[in-house]
C-alpha cells in the first residue's frame, strides 16, 4: 500500500465506510454453552469422570490460591504472596483481603484451611490472615497442585458449595443444566457477561447443529471435525495438543516374552496413517505421555512404525496370547482407531480382538492433561491411566523425563496421539482467548450485540 500513496489509502477507507467496530469489551448478555459431560457435583473436591471439563466449570465458580497462566507460571489468586520454608515441607500463603463467598461471608484463613483439608491430607493451619501448609515430604510441585481446580477454595455447608469466583450459581440441575450469574463483587473485576447457561449431555452432532442454528455460542468440537468446520466457515478455537490417546494394558508385563510382544505392538501401529485418515490430520503422533510443547523432550520417545522389527520380535516368541482391545462404544472415532490398530497388529502376527467396554487386556483411553506443569501433568495423567504413580525426584525437566521414561519402560502405556481440545464459537462471541491448555476464560469474553450501557 505504501507505494500507492495516502490518496489511495483515503479512497479505500471511504469505500469501506459504515462498518462499525469496537475493540473494548461490552458488558451484558448471556453465553449459552453446550457440553457432552457434566460434573458429578459442583464440589470440586469430588472425583470427576472428566476432570478437564469439570475443571473449566469449577474455574467459573471458584478460585484457587494460585493461578497458572498460559505459560504455566503461577500467579496470585486468593493468595497474594507465598513462601516456602527451608525444609520445603512448610509453605505459607498470605490471603487476599476483602474477598467474600457467594453467601457474603468473608474468606478467612479458617475457611481456606477447612477447604484445603477437605481435598487433601495436608496439615493446613490458619495463622491470622495466612494459612500454613505442612507436608510429610518436601514438595516442589505444591504450587502447581494448588492451581488445580480440585484445590479450589470452597465454603461447604448445608446449602451446598459456595465459591468466590467470577460467577455465582443461580441454578444447578445435576447432569442437565447449570445457570450462572455474574459476581458483581468479584475481586478480579465483574465478568463482562451477565450470565452463562450451560447444558450438559449434548452430543457433538447436537452441539454443532445448535451452533449452526445460533442457539448456542460455545460448543465442543471433535478434533477430527475441526478442519471440516473451519472449511465451512465456522469459528473454531483449538488448544495445543493436550489430550492423550493411548493404549493401556490392564497390568504390568510379567515375562520377557510379554514385554517383547508389547514392544512389537508399539512398533506396528501406523500412527501417521491413522492420524491422516481417521483423525482428519489433527493432533500429533505421540511417543510420550506429555506432548513436546509441555515437556520439551518428547522427541526422545520414538513414534516411528517399524513393521519389520515388529515381525522379528513377534517371530521370536513361540506362542502369542490373544489380547482383547477395549474401546468406549460411545466414542466412534475411538472404535475405528481400535479397529485399525487390530489390523496393524494382525499384519505382524499379533492377535488382537476388539471388545466394546472396559473389561479388556488393553484399553484405548483418552486423557486430557490437567496442568502445564510437566510434573503435575505426568502424575495426574498416569494416575488416570490407572498406572502406578511415577517417582518424581524433583521439578527439573531431567527429573520429569526420568520419571516418564521409567513409566514407559514399564510397557503398560503405549502413547498414540496428542489431540487438541477444540471449541466452536458463535459469531457474537468476542474476546475468546485461545489458551494453549484448553481452559476457558469465560470471564473475559463478551457478546458483540447491542446492549444497554447500564447493564
Amino acid at each position: 500500500m505504501k507505494r500507492f500513496g495516502w490518496q489511495l489509502v483515503a479512497v479505500s477507507s471511504l469505500l469501506v465506510a459504515l462498518a462499525h467496530g469496537a475493540t473494548r469489551p461490552q458488558y451484558g448478555g448471556t453465553a449459552h454453552v453446550w457440553l457432552r459431560s457434566a460434573p458429578n457435583s459442583l464440589d470440586p473436591a469430588s472425583p470427576q469422570p472428566d476432570a478437564f471439563s469439570a475443571g473449566n466449570i469449577f474455574r467459573l465458580i471458584y478460585d484457587t490460591l494460585v493461578i497458572a497462566d498460559d505459560t504455566g507460571r503461577l500467579q496470585p489468586g486468593l493468595a497474594i504472596a507465598w513462601q516456602a520454608a527451608y525444609d520445603r515441607r512448610h509453605w505459607y500463603f498470605q490471603l487476599r483481603p476483602g474477598v467474600k463467598f457467594g453467601d457474603g461471608s468473608p474468606v478467612t484463613a479458617d475457611a481456606v484451611a477447612a477447604s484445603l483439608r477437605q481435598a487433601n491430607t495436608w496439615s493446613v493451619v490458619p495463622q491470622g490472615d495466612s494459612v500454613a501448609i505442612g507436608l510429610e515430604q518436601p514438595d516442589d510441585f505444591l504450587l502447581a497442585e494448588l492451581a488445580l481446580p480440585r484445590n479450589a477454595i470452597v465454603k461447604r455447608d448445608a446449602a451446598g458449595p459456595r465459591g468466590t469466583g467470577p460467577f455465582r450459581v443461580a441454578e444447578w440441575v445435576a447432569g442437565k443444566r447449570l445457570s450462572l450469574n455474574a459476581n458483581e463483587e468479584y475481586w478480579g473485576g465483574r465478568p463482562f457477561l451477565n450470565s452463562v447457561e450451560i447444558e450438559f449431555g449434548k452430543s457433538y452432532h447436537d452441539q454443532e447443529v445448535a451452533l449452526e442454528l445460533g442457539r448456542v455460542e460455545v460448543v465442543e468440537v471433535a478434533p477430527e471435525q475441526a478442519r471440516r468446520m473451519e472449511g465451512a466457515g465456522r469459528r473454531v478455537a483449538e488448544s495445543q495438543p493436550l489430550e492423550l490417546l493411548a493404549l493401556v494394558f490392564a497390568r504390568d508385563s510379567k515375562t520377557a516374552n510379554e514385554s517383547t510382544l508389547r514392544g512389537a505392538l508399539q512398533l506396528c501401529i501406523d500412527r501417521e496413517s491413522i492420524r491422516n485418515v481417521l483423525l482428519g490430520g489433527e493432533g500429533e503422533a505421540a511417543g510420550g505421555i506429555l506432548p513436546n510443547w509441555i515437556s520439551g523432550y518428547e522427541f526422545l520417545f520414538p513414534v516411528e512404525t517399524n513393521v519389520t522389527k515388529a515381525q522379528e520380535d513377534r517371530g521370536g516368541v513361540n506362542q502369542a496370547p490373544v489380547w482383547t482391545l477395549g474401546y468406549n462404544p460411545a466414542d466412534p472415532v475411538g472404535q475405528v482407531i481400535a479397529e485399525r490398530i487390530a489390523l496393524n497388529a494382525r499384519d505382524v502376527g499379533l492377535r488382537v480382538q476388539l471388545a466394546a467396554g472396559t473389561n479388556a487386556d488393553v484399553q484405548l483411553v483418552r486423557v486430557r492433561l490437567e496442568s502445564l506443569d510437566a510434573g503435575i501433568a505426568l502424575e495426574t495423567a498416569v494416575a488416570r491411566l490407572g498406572s502406578p504413580a511415577p517417582k518424581l525426584d524433583g521439578t527439573s525437566a531431567q527429573k520429569v523425563y526420568e520419571a516418564e521414561n521409567s513409566v514407559l519402560q514399564g510397557q503398560r502405556i503405549i502413547p498414540l496421539f496428542h489431540l487438541p481440545v477444540v471449541y466452536g464459537l458463535g459469531p457474537a462471541v468476542k474476546g475468546w482467548d485461545v489458551r494453549r491448555d484448553g481452559t476457558w476464560r469465560l470471564v473475559d469474553i463478551w457478546m458483540n450485540a447491542p446492549r444497554n450501557s447500564s447493564d
Binding site: W82, Y297, V434
Partner: protein
C-alpha cells in the same frame, strides 16, 4: 524462611526471561534494547558441557546439533560454535562419528516455559545417556517504524509484565510515571543511563476494579500528577516530600487537554464514560456512553468525536450530534496536533476483537467524514489504552504484546515525511 515468594517483577531487573522486560525511553535518547549475544548462552553451554563430560570423560567425540526450538539460525550457529569450544576446553576432541568413542546428539528444544537443551550420548552399544539443561527463553523486542508521506511514528517507551494503564513522561529531570492497576511507580534515570525505580505508591480502592480496567494519568503544574481510575482519584502532593493520596471520587475525567477542555464522568463499575459531560458542549450536556473522545479544532469551534459503546462514532459540535461514517474503527481515539495536513489528526485503533494484533491509523476530517492519511501502524497486540498527552502533539498507546504477554507503551506522533 526461604526466599521463594511471589513478587511483582521489576522491569530493570530482568533482561533474560521469556517475558523479558525491555526498558526504552527513546524520547530521552535512551534505549536499553535486548542484546542477544553469545554470552547469553554461556551458562547453559557450560552446564550442558559439564553434564556431557561427566558421562563421556575426555576423549574423542562427535557432535551433531539439531534445532527443534524457536531459536533463530544465527543463535543456533553461535551456540554450536561455543559448544564445540566448551567441549574442547573440557578435554573432548572433535572427530568424525566413525572415529568417536562417544556420539553426542544435542537437540535444542523448548517447552512451555523455557528452552530445553537435550544431550543424547551414545557410547558403544550401551543405552544412550540423556542429559538436559533448561535456560529461559529470550524474547527479542521488535519495534517497527512506519515511514510514509504522513505516518504514525511509534516510539517505544516502556515494557513490563504488569498491566500499564497510562504513562507519564517528564523530560527534566528524566522521569517516567507508570500507572498500573494497583500502584503508581516512578522511575528515574541514573547517570549511567539505567532506569531505576524511584518511588512506588499503592493505589487504595474499596471496590474491586472493573474488568478491562482503565486509568488516565495527567501531569500537573502545581503538583506532580493526578491519576483517574474508575471511582477513584489519586493526587500526588506537591512539596519536598512526595506522597500519593487516593480517594473515592466520582469527579469527571478531563479530556482534551488545555486547548479543548472537556470533562466527562466515568462509570465506576464499567469500562466506559457514562456520556454525561461537564460542563458540556454548548447546549449538549450528554452524549451516548462512550469509550473515548477526541477533539478536532475547527477555527471558531471544536468538533468532538466520541467512540460510543454502541460501536458508532458520534461527531458533536455543541449543536448537533451526527453519526460518522467510519471504516472499522475501534473504540479508542486520540487527537494529535501536527504541522502537516490540516494540522490535527485523529488516531484510531482498528476493530480487532482483543485477541489479535491491533493497528492505529491517522485520520483527518476535511468535513464530517474521516479520511485516512496514514497507513495502519501495526501493534504487537490489542491496544488497551490510547490517551492524548498533555502537549496535545503526541499520544500514549499501550498494547499487550500477544507473543511476549508484555504490556508495551509507545509514544505516538505524526511524521509529515519527506
Amino acid at each position: 524462611m526461604r526466599t521463594r515468594s511471589y513478587n511483582a517483577p521489576k522491569p530493570q531487573m530482568s533482561n533474560r526471561r521469556c517475558t523479558r522486560s525491555v526498558l526504552s525511553l527513546l524520547s530521552l535518547a535512551l534505549c536499553i534494547a535486548p542484546n542477544v549475544s553469545a554470552s547469553n548462552w554461556a551458562a547453559a553451554e557450560r552446564e550442558l558441557t559439564n553434564k556431557i563430560a561427566a558421562v563421556t570423560g575426555p576423549g574423542a567425540v562427535s557432535l551433531s546439533l539439531e534445532n527443534r526450538s524457536s531459536l533463530a539460525q544465527s543463535d543456533v550457529n553461535v551456540i554450536t560454535a561455543e559448544l564445540r569450544a566448551q567441549f574442547e576446553a573440557a578435554g573432548m576432541r572433535m572427530v568424525a562419528a566413525d572415529q568417536a568413542a562417544a556420539t553426542i546428539q544435542v537437540t535444542l528444544s523448548e517447552n512451555v516455559q523455557a528452552y530445553l537443551w537435550v544431550g543424547r550420548i551414545q557410547q558403544a552399544t550401551n543405552s544412550p545417556a540423556i542429559v538436559m539443561v533448561s535456560t529461559p527463553c529470550a524474547a527479542p523486542a521488535a519495534v517497527s517504524h512506519e515511514t510514509n508521506p504522513l505516518a504514525v511514528v511509534k516510539i517505544p517507551l516502556w515494557s513490563q509484565e504488569n498491566r500499564i494503564l497510562d504513562v507519564g513522561v517528564i523530560d527534566s529531570p528524566a522521569r517516567v510515571i507508570i500507572l498500573e492497576p494497583e500502584r503508581i511507580v516512578l522511575y528515574s534515570r541514573m547517570n549511567s543511563g539505567q532506569w531505576q525505580q524511584d518511588r512506588e505508591f499503592p493505589i487504595s480502592h474499596v471496590r474491586p476494579w472493573p474488568r478491562d480496567l482503565r486509568g488516565h494519568l495527567l501531569l500537573r503544574k502545581d503538583h506532580l500528577f493526578d491519576a483517574y481510575l474508575p471511582g477513584v482519584l489519586c493526587a500526588a502532593t506537591s512539596g519536598a516530600t512526595l506522597y500519593l493520596r487516593c480517594n473515592q471520587s466520582d469527579d469527571p475525567w478531563p479530556l482534551g487537554g488545555d486547548a479543548s477542555p472537556l470533562n466527562a464522568f466515568f462509570s465506576p463499575t464499567r469500562n466506559f464514560f457514562t456520556g454525561v459531560l461537564s460542563p458540556g458542549l454548548g447546549r449538549q450536556t450528554a452524549v451516548p456512553a462512550f469509550y473515548s473522545a477526541a477533539p478536532i479544532a475547527r477555527g471558531k469551534y471544536v468538533l468532538w468525536l466520541f467512540a460510543a459503546a454502541d460501536g458508532k462514532v458520534h461527531a458533536v459540535d455543541g449543536m448537533t450530534d451526527l453519526a460518522v461514517s467510519e471504516s472499522g474503527w475501534g473504540s479508542d481515539l486520540a487527537s494529535v496536533k501536527s504541522t502537516c495536513g490540516l494540522g490535527g489528526q485523529v488516531l484510531a485503533t482498528g476493530n480487532s476483537d482483543g485477541n489479535r494484533p491491533d493497528t492505529i491509523r491517522a485520520y483527518q476530517f476535511p468535513d464530517r467524514d474521516p479520511v485516512a492519511v496514514s497507513e495502519a501502524t501495526a501493534m504487537n497486540g490489542p491496544v488497551v489504552a490510547l490517551w492524548t498527552e498533555q502537549s496535545g502533539s503526541t499520544a500514549i498507546a499501550v498494547a499487550r504484546n500477544l507473543r511476549t504477554a508484555q504490556y508495551e507503551a509507545f509514544r505516538l506522533a505524526i511524521s509529515c515525511g519527506q
